[in-house]
Symmetry: C2
Subunit: 465 residues, 2 copies
């Protein structure tokens, strides 16, 4: 499975910079670099130099100096990939970067595939598959919450949880399989009541992990927020005010489309993904239902619904809008009723709104979007609507779609075990279901898996990582 | 003059990459980094670690892990800036890069200004000003020839030449000034004939350096090439064929405008800048002269003129076009007559062109632009028209507009010395002119200069270098 070649790639962001880093990994990393590197003063060679050391010198080719560089050496197994690694820090012109790659390749290195450094780290046992996957998430994270989840996963939080579950299941299956060896004697090493308890516990754990994906995915890609309300209630003004809150980081990211920049915004370290519900508006009562129906499928995707109402309208009208949306929402969604234009609103409407009964999943906030009044309170509600803080405190939230799919399978298997126990099925069937669940767990950490799965995972990495 | 603060900046290209490098320079670089760095296994501190060493660990802030990083240490005076330098190699997400900067700044580092690392290297005597300037050229170089000139200059080629000239001049002026001390005795320590010889030699050197700017500038920014000829002779087809030759590197450069991408092309490691001579065309004889006159000012900017003629036309017509352009050219320009459409051209025209008398500054090439026939021969002529190979072999070619301006002044001063010698002016006037010339030389290497000049030079650098 292990490729013995030495790979190289530009590891820093493409384009011109003050410096750029070109990385090699493999048995011949040091040897290959040494062929084209020389310290001008000491004539120093790289071969035989200590691990974790830095060396200034010139990179040349056919007696022509390409650049003055600093070379860092890491030696197997104490490196990112577990192999010998050389990092060449050069001046960041595109010409130099390409030329150095060219020279390294002419000396025997091969261009690295996307994610190949991390793939080698996995194959050399430096990290498990879920940690390797988290490396790509760490690099892609553009807000504090997503970053925190990715760093936790990279540092092994998810693997630890999965590992603990597997330990318990293994004990379980060992007992049941032991019974099979003595099947004619009808012994019961695995106490069925205890087994049932353990299975129930594992079922809850797997279910929680599986269910955390919705939140994990939202944190990773932005909490989906729908802003709805009639025309002229101030939806656009509100959206613009929120979008201006903190665009700095988002707009710095290369490769994000203009559409995405306008729709995803980091507010106090959390990404919110505002999506278009233009279809949900109430222009004329007689066509209203048609328009709303068409857009409710989108409303369902929202974790938070911001219903903007205009306090210029009568309370009855406002209340009817609120009730209409309430009827469409599910208990997992948060509704924030945004009563807008309070500076000039009808006092009676405002007074009656103030005493409106709210459920646990509802908040009411009075704002004046144009004057940016009370936006902080609204933002506070949005951030606390989804308990990001608490969520990112716990180590294990599933953010990876592959893990989610596997957890669903594992959960189905453990449910079968549970049903089997209740129905009193024989040990061999029980053992088979447990084995299946164990297999899925191992898929997450990469203890079992195919080349194909690996190829799919790493092809989405950037080159040089 | 020296700033005692510790500066920090992201030194790699902006945007997302596999890794990014954040650099600190200054007395407190190691101390500041140490406050937020810890090795998870050994609890290792950075303070007290050896120079030129690499350390794996975690960067954290308020107990929260920001990233797992590798930190490289360089110690004064053996570093790029001559100060203590720390290089933090982190995962290349924009979020992490900004967060680390934020943390370093909160611990006492300051954001570096553009070019501030290199400016400090200059102020700490690690390089002279012309070398520092070359660093920006090295980073901006997008083709082999410009890269080579910049690397040579960065390695001190230009400084060496200027230094040698200054040595000679200093000797010269010391002698003349010695005479002044004994002025009443009418001694002549500086043999006037030898002085004259030396001055002439220096004048030639300064003139050559000054004159090399035209070529140096062309290599740096692209050799200016005018493609001229009537409509329908195949100018556009030829231009497109040449533009397709090697756009890879040019199109990779960020920050170049689309206009520039279309006009500058790297052919076999040399940049050619094709410029618009759309005005030079011969539509109707009676308005021809007006149109041509208007565009000849542009023709003058070309180092190479590609005159495209159509072999479908009679030799007499073709010859008249050639003669018209010949009459407009200067002996420093290269004319390449490109006889196009030879696959279907008139045999008589081709035969007569084959025996056309050419000067040293002229070449003739038969091509079929549409079929890309013989383009290699044309490219070969273009590359050899300007002797880039020979030019880049010599160490000293002026590419920097500031140096060119100074050299012009120095040359004017040395010419005055020469005239003075011929006119037999007194030693004190002679000494003054020599001192002036010496002053200009020192401006190039930065031995004299103002904060203002430095500010102007370094403000065009990228941040992080």
């Amino acid at each position: 499975m292990l490729d013995q070649s030495t790979i190289c790639a530009i590891s820093t962001s493409p384009g011109v910079g003050a410096i750029a880093v070109i990385r090699l990994s493999g048995n011949e990393s040091i040897e290959i670099t040494d062929k084209v590197f020389r310290s001008p003063k000491t004539g120093k060679f790289l071969i035989g130099q200590a691990a974790n050391s830095l060396h200034f010198g010139q990179l040349f080719y056919h007696d022509e100096v390409i650049d003055e560089v600093v070379v860092g050496l890491f030696k197997a197994p104490h490196s990112y990939t577990g192999e010998d690694i050389v990092e060449i820090s050069c001046h960041g012109s595109v010409y130099i970067q390409q030329k150095i790659l060219e020279v390294l390749i002419s000396e025997g290195a091969q261009m690295a595939l996307p994610g190949e450094f991390t793939q080698r780290a996995f194959l050399n046992g430096k990290m498990d598959l879920s940690q390797a996957e988290a490396v790509a998430d760490v690099i892609a994270s553009s807000n504090a919450a997503a970053h925190k989840l990715a760093i936790n996963q990279m540092r092994g939080g998810f693997s630890k949880e999965i590992g603990a579950l597997r330990e318990q299941l293994l004990h379980f299956t060992a007992m049941v399989e032991l019974e099979l060896d003595f099947s004619e004697e009808e012994v019961e090493f695995a106490n069925r009541t205890e087994l049932q308890k353990l299975t129930e516990k594992i079922e809850v754990l797997l279910r929680n992990l599986k269910d955390s994906f919705q939140l994990g995915n939202a944190i990773k890609n932005g909490i989906p927020v729908a802003i709805i309300g009639e025309t002229n209630v101030g939806k656009s003004t509100l959206l613009n005010a929120l979008l201006n809150e903190d665009k700095a980081i988002v707009s710095d990211i290369h490769g994000t489309t203009r559409d995405v920049i306008e729709d995803v915004v980091n507010i106090h370290g959390t990404a919110f993904r505002f999506f278009d519900t233009a279809g949900i508006r109430e222009t004329k009562d007689h066509i209203e239902n048609l328009g709303i129906e068409r857009s409710y499928s989108k409303l369902e995707q929202a974790a938070i619904v911001l219903l903007v109402v205009d306090t210029h309208n009568s309370f009855d009208l406002v209340k009817s809008r609120i009730d209409k949306i309430r009827g469409r929402m599910d208990t997992k969604q948060q509704l924030i009723i945004v009563a807008n234009k309070i500076d000039t609103g009808l006092p009676t409407t405002i007074q009656q709104l103030e005493v409106l009964d709210l459920t646990d999943h509802e908040k009411l906030v009075f704002i004046a979007a144009k004057q940016k009044k009370n936006l902080d309170e609204l933002i506070d509600y949005m951030i606390h609507a989804i308990n990001i803080e608490a969520a990112t405190q716990q180590d294990v939230i599933v953010t990876n779609a592959r893990h989610y799919e596997i957890l669903k399978n594992a959960h189905t298997a453990i449910l079968r075990v549970l049903t089997g126990l209740e129905d009193g099925i024989t040990g061999d069937f029980l053992a088979q279901d447990i084995r299946e669940c164990l297999y899925y767990m191992a898929e997450i950490t990469g203890e079992v898996g195919t080349e194909e799965v690996l190829g799919h995972i790493f092809k989405n990495f950037c080159i040089g990582k």
